[in-house]
């Protein structure tokens, strides 16, 4: 109940004139003006009045609590506001005077109410007072009887003497320092200068360090020394791609599934991402087109003149010689071990380029080329071929025929026609292979044809005729076929086709490059959804 309002008692709340008036030592009193302003008596009266009011209110509440009756809140709040107003006024009055005091308490409550007067008292503590007195006596030992001004003068003289003695001592010390060569006292504070050689070394080291951290200078290991150590640190053990070293591995792209074990690229694909040995549709033999067993819904109509199903219906049937040649080439390829195939393929391609025909053998070679090339060049994007191609195998069957139509390197109509004839040969390969070939065949100079080729090949030969521009009347057949295809890339990607055009002119010697070049061109194939094979094709195009 006490001190509820936290009333700040003024400093001299209980003026001690009565207590200290009798003490002989002089008591420091408040400035009388301040004292008057403070008006301690009135503050005391007001504080007491406030205290009474608060206690009255509390009694009322107590009565309410006991009688369990609800108090009239209006009245209670009114009383409370009156009390708080009064308190506020008291505190304000004191605040006006508190500037005279250096320190005044912020809050007074039960804890510090008793000790505050002591803390606020400016009177010295008894010990301090005694000490003060002894010191004073020592000082004024001989002169305490003299009048004050004499005392002052004597003290001044003493101070001067001490000062003179200090100066003399300083002088002596500095003379001795010089005499003994100790240097001036300011030595340690001098800024130490660096030796120039040392500074240069440090500068060089600094440059090394900054360059290393910011730009990696001096940290690059030459490529020939970049082999993964046999024992990797623990945090890298399961992080790095297995097998092939620290560099990015774009492998496993060309590993399209083939019936023929020699072609199987599964063994080459260390990534193992796409080629699951014995897994999905690997080595499945696709029904030949001649079987007319197209699983895909979009069975190309037989009405097309160059329907792949009837290879004999191709307008420009390849010469038997070429066919044989191609077959031979293919057989050769198939018999070769895998790693030799690229070479052979290239050779064969060159041969066929010489012959101006990109026959079956070329196409099959292209299959291999794309696959092998991808493996060789570790192109990452090629990876995507397989997963899509495999499920699409059935669908790709149709595409294969169309793929055959996409002669990669040879523009000649013969090639295209032969390609269609080759489809029957190509049936042995998985759809992925066909897709690969298809992509490889993208470097047709006929931009439209390229786009059409790259498009999914649900219709076969008809597609090839799509978009053949003037000047290549021979190709019209194929372009028309391509046109029939919904895929209809024709003319949609002039840029890519131009690129393909340019690349194609490299000739067969650049089979790998051509293959690679195909990819940028292939990537741009639009034609989203019409052909279910399209996504696959697109993937394949991104070799």
């Amino acid at each position: 109940m006490e001190n509820i309002g936290g009333v700040a008692l003024p400093q001299g709340y209980q003026p001690p004139p009565a207590a200290e008036g009798v003490a002989p030592p002089k008591v420091e009193r408040l400035n009388p003006v301040v004292q008057q302003q403070l008006n301690l008596e009135s503050v005391k009266t007001r504080a007491l009045g406030l205290y009474k009011a608060i206690s009255r209110i509390l009694e009322d509440f107590d009565a309410f609590a006991r009688t369990n009756s609800t108090p009239k809140w209006q009245d209670a709040l009114g009383q409370f506001s009156m009390v708080s107003m009064e308190l506020f006024n008291i505190v304000e009055d004191i605040k006006n005077v508190s500037k005279a005091f250096v320190v005044h308490p912020r809050n007074v409550n039960a804890e510090n109410a008793t000790i505050l007067p002591v803390m606020l008292s400016s009177k010295l503590l008894p010990e301090m007072e005694a000490e003060d007195n002894t010191k004073r006596e020592q000082l004024l030992y001989g002169i305490s009887g003299l009048p004050v001004h004499m005392q002052i003068e004597k003290l001044k003289a003493r101070i001067d003497m001490i000062g003179a003695a200090c100066e003399a001592a300083e002088k002596v010390i500095s003379d001795c320092r010089k005499a003994y060569g100790l240097g001036s006292r300011q030595g340690p504070t001098l800024v130490p200068t660096l030796d120039k050689v040392q500074a240069a070394k440090i500068q060089e080291q600094e440059n090394l360090l900054r360059a290393a951290v910011n730009y990696g200078e001096g940290l690059r290991i030459p490529a020939d020394q970049r082999q993964l150590p046999t024992s990797l640190p623990s945090h890298l053990v399961d992080v790095l791609p297995f097998g092939d070293g620290a560099q990015n591995l774009g492998d496993n792209s060309g590993t399209y599934v083939k019936n023929n074990p020699p072609f199987s690229s599964n063994s080459v694909n260390t990534q193992g991402v796409l080629q699951t040995p014995g897994g999905q549709l690997i080595g499945r033999s696709v029904p030949s087109p001649s079987n007319a067993a197209f699983d895909n819904a979009s069975t190309p109509p037989m009405a097309y003149a160059n329907s792949p199903r009837s290879s004999t219906n191709i307008a420009n049937t390849p010469s038997p010689q070429q066919q044989v040649q191609q077959q031979q080439q293919r057989q050769k390829i198939m018999q070769l071990p895998q790693h030799q195939q690229p070479l052979l393929v290239q050779q064969q391609l060159r041969q066929s380029s010489n012959a101006g025909v990109l026959g079956q053998g070329s196409i099959s070679q292209l299959h291999d080329i794309t696959g092998q090339t991808q493996q060789k060049f570790q192109q990452i994007t090629g990876q995507h071929q397989m997963p899509y191609s495999q499920p699409m195998l059935q669908q790709q069957f149709q595409n294969r025929q169309l793929q055959a139509a996409h002669m990669p390197h040879n523009i000649a109509q013969n090639q295209i026609n032969q390609g269609s004839q080759l489809r029957s040969h190509l049936n042995q390969f998985s759809g992925a292979a066909n897709s690969a070939l298809f992509n490889a065949a993208q470097t047709s100079p006929n931009s439209q044809m390229i786009t059409n080729m790259s498009a999914s090949m649900q219709s076969q030969l008809p597609r090839m005729q799509f978009g053949l521009t003037g000047g290549h009347p021979q190709r019209n057949l194929q372009s028309q076929m391509l046109n029939d295809q919904m895929f209809g890339m024709g003319g949609s990607n002039p840029a890519s086709m131009v690129a393909n055009l340019q690349q194609q002119q490299g000739g067969f010697g650049n089979i790998p490059t051509n293959t690679q070049n195909l990819q940028p061109g292939m990537v741009n194939l639009p034609n989203p959804t019409q052909n279910p094979n399209f996504p696959q094709q697109r993937q394949q195009n991104q070799q």
Binding site: T193, I202, L232, L236
Partner: protein, 217 residues
């Protein structure tokens, strides 16, 4: 975005710096052992090669990976007046298959670095991180156990603070004022600008070490 300054300090004074930072920041130091792999993009990802840094924190029992891309720094007259470097930075925690992922994208390892040291965090106007590390290079690929310092006698001090486009000025001034605290021991400057060592470093270090009574923290 971040504001960053770098400085160098001789290895012999690193302990004194640690004491000073401990006093300034209050919190104990955090150990740093980071394997930094700097990857550069291949030609299939654009004409200009981009750089990505993968940081593997080896200080914890389980290594954690962070990917960090440092963008271009602010340029212009305004940027020159600021004493810190303000640059765009994108950082994120990633799983440990990030390296494989970047390799699959076509990034190649350009260089790698092992940073060993400690770091302090300080909050005043901005969350400031001070790292003192020695840069170590690995003689063989990924051989973190065989790392040797690039410059044995000098370590790198880096002060960074994240910033946004609207408050980078305040962050920059906070970083600058923090750098004043370290003035007796080292000078800090924008990365790429060399500072040299501070002549008073030895004296300051000596006083720091003596004051603390050589107490290791």
């Amino acid at each position: 975005m971040e504001c960053v300054v770098q400085g160098i300090i001789e290895t012999q004074h690193v302990e004194a710096l640690q004491i000073l930072l401990q006093g300034l920041c209050g919190a104990p130091k955090e150990r740093i052992r980071v394997h930094e792999l700097c990857l550069k993009s291949g030609p299939n990802l654009g004409v200009v090669p981009s750089e990505v840094r993968l940081l593997c924190d080896l200080a914890q029992p389980t290594p954690s990976w962070t990917v960090r891309h440092v963008g271009g720094s602010m340029r212009g007259a305004g940027a020159e007046q600021i004493s810190v470097l303000v640059r765009t930075v994108v950082e994120s925690k990633v799983g440990n298959n990030a390296l494989r992922f970047f390799y699959a994208l076509g990034y190649k390892l350009d260089h790698e670095l092992l940073k060993i040291g400690f770091a302090f965090r300080f909050q005043k106007g901005a969350p400031i991180t001070i790292t003192v590390t020695s840069a170590n290079k690995m003689p063989r690929l990924h051989a973190t156990d065989e790392a040797v310092p690039v410059t044995p006698g000098i370590q790198l001090v880096e002060i960074t603070a994240p910033a946004a486009a609207d408050n980078y000025n305040d962050v920059a001034s906070a970083v600058s004022s923090f750098c004043e605290y370290l003035a007796p021991l080292l000078h800090l400057s924008k990365p790429g600008v060399s500072t040299g060592i501070v002549p008073t470093a030895a004296a300051a270090a000596a006083s720091l070490l003596s004051n603390s009574g050589g107490k290791t923290i």
